[in-house]
């Protein structure tokens, strides 16, 4: 382990590697995110993820945000375990009827101000699952949605862009007072 740790010390971090196009884009986005988040919410933004019946594709890309390439915690963005600690509810899936109640309760448990991000094609309108007897068909039918990030699933870079858009919007108003 010492060898591995030592190598990590002398190797340049992955997040600041000389620019390939995609890596440069990550850095640029990350810097923008940093500034915007601080203006509105001080040092941090806490995100609570709820899977409302997704295929798990969106969750995989949400996980990727925490890897060394994206590492969004550098900027005070973090995924939290309790809705009580959350500013943003990030919802995936077409909202199955079996998850409707749990989603609503999670939203209700969050303190205001709060924002809801619907992640992925299914979360917008049910996507390819729309019309099923088992599906509500979109997050906005259950809780008020502030932002939709499209994609099947959206790549991590698109999720980052979406969060910036949310924060830009949030700077103009006081956040949801809805409970």
């Amino acid at each position: 382990m010492r060898k591995l740790l030592f190598e990590s010390l002398i190797r340049p971090p992955l997040t600041e590697r000389p620019p390939q196009v995609s890596d440069a884009a990550v850095d640029e986005l990350a810097r923008a995110l940093d500034g915007t988040a601080r203006r509105r919410l001080g040092r941090s933004l806490s995100i609570r993820a709820v899977d409302a019946g997704s295929c798990n594709g969106c969750e995989l890309e949400m996980h990727a945000l925490n890897n060394a390439f994206y590492d969004i915690e550098r900027f005070g963005f973090r995924f939290v375990a309790s809705p009580r600690h959350a500013d943003v509810l990030m919802v995936t899936g077409p909202v199955t009827k079996n998850m409707r109640e749990a989603l609503k309760r999670t939203f209700d448990a969050m303190p205001s101000p709060k924002w809801v991000v619907a992640l992925g094609g299914c979360a917008k309108d049910g996507g390819c699952f729309a019309g099923s007897y088992a599906v509500v068909g979109g997050v906005s039918d259950v809780v008020p949605v502030d932002l939709h990030i499209p994609g099947c699933p959206p790549p991590p870079i698109e999720i980052l862009k979406g969060l910036i858009a949310l924060l830009d919007g949030a700077n103009g108003r006081a956040g949801l007072a809805k409970s």
Binding site: L4, D51, S54, G57, A134, V135
Partner: protein, 507 residues
């Protein structure tokens, strides 16, 4: 003792069921098959319903596969689960969806139906009035000072929805009971009457981490039904995608299991390698998870020279870095202390449940669908199937480690021998299906285990019925057994070492 093939030959054989036979059998024959399951000679590959029918896919001792079907008037059929527990949840699901009433079923609680759909038996010929949403009766555990811990469906991390009910005596888990179905989207309902293209899209969204494997299973079942062979290049490209998917998932899992033992450095380094795989997949096939890249008839995208070299440098990087991580895992006593002897699954249970993937192979079940029944191009590729006997978290990590090594070798072999030519043939479903219903079936090895796809294409080329059986159906119940006697705090590491799919199970 009968062979499965004899049993099927003797009865009303269905004409267009490819590649393995299917027969509608009499109750006596059905019971004979159940007997073979119960005494451990045969394995259950799947059990699914249709209005007034129930089907069972079986694997016999000679590794032959067959499907037997039973007409059940009024939905009444003899329960398989009463003699062979792995069928229990499948029967409960068939009861919820089709209104089947397995006679003698020891557990009649609803499974997928949580009383929220506004309808009951949605896929039956005559769907019923909505079931009242009565509270779910969890199984009892009695004893002094036992307490319950209820977890989910919303979990603390970025995880799929499901409910776990622990009964603990102090720190020790006395009983874990799972309640699933929260991610039920009605995929089989949406597929009924859909075009092959639309159904392929749904199949690829059954379990996001296995989108390649599901697309492949569905495509192979369609091609079997319609008698189509995709071009050689497509067959090899599909295997390339499947191995990339396996690499990405295994690398992610190895890191995540260590992370559940609070050993974050493995998680960080494995996370980097996983991201490299996804980026190479994106460069090669235009999508990080390679979704919708496998279609009935071939593949939707070709591999360019640039894509191939992205994959080559990926393999080089993993070959360089991964051995150091394996060494780190192997030489860290505090980590081994958490994984060795934790969450032990016995060889007998793995065999009884025909557990696929690393869950089965870490507990002595030497089965890999790529080898048997096998499918192209794996018959022309060299690979080992690692098997261990210990059945603990550590063994499930090591199976993944060995499979990463095998997949790297497979990727190299495929890149070295990738044939040229077209990547897709047209499937004219209408022409092919004009002669009457055609049924196809496939068994494909995803990273998690064998995925079964079964479908019937009707006149006009529509999908009449499609059933997709995730490996998790036979792994989730084993997690309950493996976690018993462990401390509550070790549940996450046990759970991650199984990494069952919620969405793939709930459909």
């Amino acid at each position: 003792m009968p062979a499965l093939a004899d049993l099927i030959e003797a009865d009303r054989r269905i004409e267009h069921h490819v590649p393995w036979p299917r027969a509608v059998v009499a109750p006596k024959v059905w019971n004979l098959a159940v007997e073979q399951l119960a005494n451990g000679r045969w394995s259950l590959l799947g059990l699914w319903g249709e209005p007034d029918k129930v089907h069972m896919a079986l694997l016999d001792e000679a590794l032959d596969i067959g499907v037997i079907s039973l007409d059940c008037r009024g939905g009444r059929c003899p329960s398989v689960g009463q003699y062979h527990p792995p069928a229990l949840r499948l029967e409960r699901a068939a009861a919820d969806l089709f209104g089947l009433a397995p006679q003698g079923l020891p557990d009649t609680r609803r499974w997928l139906d949580h009383g929220q759909w506004g309808v009951s038996h949605p896929l039956a010929a005559q769907p019923g009035a909505p079931a009242a949403s009565a509270s779910y009766r969890f199984l009892a555990a009695e004893g002094e000072s036992l307490h319950q811990i209820a977890v989910g469906p919303v979990h603390a991390g970025i995880i799929e929805p499901g409910h776990f009910r622990f009964t603990a005596g102090g720190e020790t888990v006395v009983r874990l009971e799972e309640r699933l179905g929260y991610a039920h989207k009605g995929i089989e309902g949406l597929m009924a009457g859909a075009s092959v293209d639309r159904a392929a899209g749904l199949a690829g969204r059954t379990s996001g981490d296995s989108t390649v494997a599901y697309s492949l299973a569905f495509a192979r079942a369609v091609e079997a039904a319609l008698g189509i062979t995709p071009p050689p290049r497509a067959i090899w490209l599909r295997a390339l995608m499947a191995e990339l998917e396996r690499l990405a998932n295994h690398l992610g899992d190895i890191g995540a299991i260590c992370n559940d033992a609070a050993f974050a450095i493995m998680h960080a380094h494995c996370g980097v390698l996983r991201e490299r795989v996804l980026r190479a997949a994106d460069a090669a096939f235009g999508h990080r998870l390679m979704r919708d890249r496998i279609v009935p008839g071939g593949t939707a995208s070709d591999l360019s020279e640039a894509g191939a070299s992205a994959i080559r440098s990926l393999v080089a990087e993993i070959r360089q870095r991964f051995p150091h991580l394996v060494e780190l895992y192997d030489n860290t006593a505090s980590l081994q202390d958490r994984t060795v002897a934790t969450g032990r699954l016995t060889v007998e249970l793995a065999r009884q449940y025909a557990a696929g993937g690393y869950v089965g192979r870490a507990s002595g079940r030497d089965f890999d669908a790529r080898r048997s029944p096998g499918y192209a191009p794996y018959d022309q590729l060299a690979f080992d199937v690692p098997v261990l006997q210990e059945g603990d978290v550590n063994a499930r990590v090591w199976i993944r480690v060995r499979e990463v090594e095998q997949s790297l070798s497979l990727v190299e072999q495929i890149l070295g021998r990738l044939p040229g030519g077209p990547i897709r043939v047209d499937i004219d479903t209408a022409d092919n299906a004009a002669l009457g219903p055609r049924e196809g079936m496939a068994l494909v090895e995803g990273f998690r285990g064998d995925i079964l796809a079964w479908l019937r294409i009707g006149e006009g080329g529509w999908v009449e019925r499609c059933h997709l059986r995730d490996p998790s159906w036979f792994q989730w119940p084993l997690l309950e057994a493996a976690v018993e006697g462990n401390i509550v705090a070790d549940f996450p590491i046990c759970n991650k070492s199984f990494n069952c799919s919620y969405s793939g199970h709930d459909l």
